[in-house]
């Protein structure tokens, strides 16, 4: 049992730090939930990709460094410690890419991954539908067979990043009357600018179009953009959901850096006693999440498949993020100054955490039923 990194891992960390110190923009980019900010973040992805820092854990052939899980964690620590911008490509990188590595064809990986790594193609997720939140099995949008592919029709909603993104991925019902609701779903990738697609941006709490509604009217998708077998989309998607909730969606580096900045903010305001406990708890929570992730990564490297335990992560980081950003806002308010825009934006973003990627109610059900062995009941 140890927490020590190898010389090679430390050298990798040092190389990342050096590069980031030389390249991270000295002033923050505009919010990525604006058109201007989206473009600026896309350009940042290209800059990262030029020196192969955008997807360090991917194989080199797709633009990565074959860095593996531990180095990815170290890279993330350095990335956020350097104050580098938020990642506009996250939906694609953390949700679609793992699915393609597990279930995609060689052709799909070769076509989709390199432009994802450079930010040339930014992906939105298209899971949710009206009337179907965390209950994905009740999806109603259809995929109907046609020559050489499928025609998508229906409506998707709460589609993160779709206001400015290029393409989307999601589940569609290809069998209208399956034996069970989880069956007859097909996982497809489609173009947000294809004929038949209407994107209606939705403004979130702060007025920024962080997500969108998608209206699909017989949108053609060729067979080569179906991931896995038609009708098997649920199984394909579930392997991705574990990634979303678990190791890769929110790296500890993000919260370690956030807690450090919170602590600095607190000291800069004269270390007010009123929030002393909350600042300490933010530091402790970041360390707990880091060590929990190291343990999960160690199990993963030993060959364990990370299953329902990713629900523990999801509840933890989503609630932690709100506590962290709330504390910062309280410190700023107490200092009789307007809430700093960066913390305010982080706070608004954090508020969505317990809602997306499977609500925290669903996660707690999974923890209770699958980790504690409690009987299933009515929700």
């Amino acid at each position: 049992m140890d927490l020590a990194f190898t010389q090679e891992e430390e050298a990798f960390r040092a190389e990342a730090r050096t590069w980031l110190n030389a390249h991270v923009p000295s002033t923050p980019l505009p919010s990525l939930e604006t058109e201007e900010g989206f473009a600026a973040h896309r350009a940042w992805e290209a800059e990262l990709a030029a020196d192969r820092w955008s997807v360090v854990d991917w194989p080199a052939v797709y633009g990565g460094r074959d860095a593996g899980l531990v180095r990815w964690l170290l890279f993330e620590e350095e990335y956020y410690a350097a104050g580098a911008p938020g990642r506009v490509g996250q939906n694609g990188v953390s949700l679609l890419a793992p699915t393609l590595f597990d279930h995609g064809t060689e052709d799909q990986r070769a076509r989709v991954l390199p432009p994802m790594a450079t930010g040339e193609v930014v992906w939105a997720q298209a899971w949710s539908e009206p009337e179907a939140g965390s209950d994905l099995a009740s999806l109603r949008s259809r995929a109907v067979r046609t020559a050489g592919g499928w025609l998508l029709s229906g409506q998707k909603t709460w589609s993160s990043r779709a206001a400015f993104a290029d393409r989307a991925f999601g589940l569609f019902r290809s069998d209208p009357q399956p034996a069970k609701p989880h069956q007859g779903l097909t996982y497809v990738m489609f173009d947000l600018r294809a004929p038949g697609v209407t994107v209606r941006p939705i403004r979130r709490l702060d007025g920024r179009p962080a997500f969108a509604e998608l209206f699909l009217d017989e949108v053609f998708v060729p067979d080569e953009d179906v991931i896995g077998e038609p009708g098997q989309g649920w199984r394909v998607a579930m392997s991705t959901a574990g990634n979303e909730r678990g190791l890769t969606l929110r790296s500890p580096g993000r919260f370690l850096a956030g807690a450090g900045r919170l602590c600095a903010l607190w000291r800069a305001q004269g270390s007010p006693d009123a929030v002393r406990h909350r600042v300490a708890d933010a530091l402790i929570g970041a360390r707990a999440y880091q060590l929990f992730t190291y343990a999960a990564a160690s199990r993963h490297l030993d060959g364990a498949v990370l299953g329902p335990e990713s629900s523990l992560n999801k509840v933890f980081w989503s609630e932690y993020d709100i506590a962290l950003t709330e504390t910062a806002l309280d410190i700023l308010d107490a200092a009789d100054e307007p809430a700093d825009t960066e913390w305010a934006e982080r706070y608004v973003f954090a508020l969505a955490g317990p809602i997306y990627a499977g609500t925290n109610e669903i996660q707690r059900d999974i923890i209770a039923e699958r980790l504690l062995g409690l009987p299933k009941g009515r929700r």
């Binding site: 049992m1 370690l256 530091l283 402790i284 360390r287 343990a295 209770a368 504690l372």
Partner: protein, 341 residues
């Protein structure tokens, strides 16, 4: 980086669990609370044979230590089985004695702790836990922490072997018997070396208390999960109700995030990591105790039901060897951020 207990460490935990499961600890705890130490002493001998106390004692004094990771692993199991006695205090005393510049007291007292002939307790002004069961009763006076140096006070620091205690004061956890130590006693060491040694000892005290609390919390969760699976209301197990499930899920989350902090602190042994582990494990165990009581209902509120043995311990460990407030202050430090990034 392989941040998981080794095969040997897991086997050690399993062997302690087997030993403790066979020992019927609830009846040992109840006897101990009444002042009957027969069962407790027998259990103490078994734990000594298993090497638990030797882990805190350096090899130079016939021990196998110091081995904080193994100590943490062991104390999780001791907490899980609600083992009574001055467990934390004995390893704290061992660390304190071994850390003195003057090797005399350690040479004289430590081998008996390793062999199980003696148990020890330590007091820093307040009460000494289970002082009637301990042959080595240490009292530290003067500053406790090297973090706040004060030369005049440091040179006044003293470590004494206290005389036999009087009567205990009742504790919220009946198994934790609290004794005021009488003044006087043999002077073992004095001056800054006592302050420095106590700082080392406090780290071990907090680490093992945190590990013990984690074990207490895990036991409370296990017992409550078993209870809500078999207890029915409205014709179904109460564990099928979402309101019940979600409380237990929160307890599980809190404990599972405390676990890596405890093990991580045992690896780094920094004051900040240890304080973080202490506050988190103790708060998780205490929150789990509240949930356990709520979900058991009235039966959980009785002294006759075994759950009470863990419930009261969760409350007591929360303040033992550093309140949540003290530990949070230690995490924040004196201006330096923790070295976690």
């Amino acid at each position: 980086m392989r941040f998981l207990p080794s095969t040997e460490q897991r086997a050690f935990a399993d062997s302690l669990t087997a030993l403790l499961t066979a020992a019927d600890t609830p009846s040992v705890v109840r006897d101990w609370s009444r002042g009957d130490q027969t069962g407790g002493r027998a259990l103490w001998s078994r734990l000594t044979e298993a090497g638990v106390f030797a882990l805190a004692v350096p090899e130079g004094y016939e021990g196998m230590g110091p081995r904080p990771v193994e100590l943490a692993v062991a104390f999780v199991e001791l907490g899980r089985h609600a083992v009574p006695g001055p467990l934390v205090e004995t390893v704290t005393a061992a660390t304190l004695l071994a850390a003195l510049d003057d090797p005399g007291p350690a040479e004289r007292l430590l081998p008996a702790l390793v062999s199980g002939k003696s148990a020890a307790t330590v007091a820093r002004g307040g009460y000494a836990l289970d002082a009637d069961a301990a042959d080595v009763r240490l009292r530290v006076s003067g500053p406790e922490s090297a973090a706040a140096p004060n030369r005049a006070a440091e040179s006044a620091a003293e470590l004494r072997l206290a005389p036999a205690p009087g009567l205990p004061r009742p504790s919220l956890d009946p198994a934790r018997r609290l004794f005021p130590l009488p003044p006087g006693g043999e002077l073992l060491a004095a001056g800054p070396q006592v302050t420095a040694a106590m700082a080392d000892a406090l780290r071990i005290a907090r680490l093992t208390t945190a590990a013990q609390a984690l074990g207490v919390g895990l036991a409370l969760l296990d017992r409550t999960v078993a209870y809500v699976r078999q207890r029915t209301q409205f014709g179904v197990p109460i564990g099928s109700f979402q309101a019940v499930k979600h409380q237990l899920a929160d307890a599980k989350i809190a404990l599972e995030f405390a676990r890596p902090l405890v093990l991580g602190a045992a690896l780094t042994m920094t004051g900040q990591d240890i304080a973080a582990a202490k506050v988190t494990a103790c708060e998780a165990a205490y929150a789990t105790a509240r949930t356990a009581l709520q979900l058991h209902g009235a039966i959980g509120y009785t002294a006759e039901y075994d759950l009470s043995l863990w419930l009261t311990k969760a409350r007591a460990l929360r303040t033992a060897w550093g309140s949540p407030d003290e530990c949070r202050a230690a995490v924040l430090g004196n201006g330096d951020r923790p070295q976690w990034w």
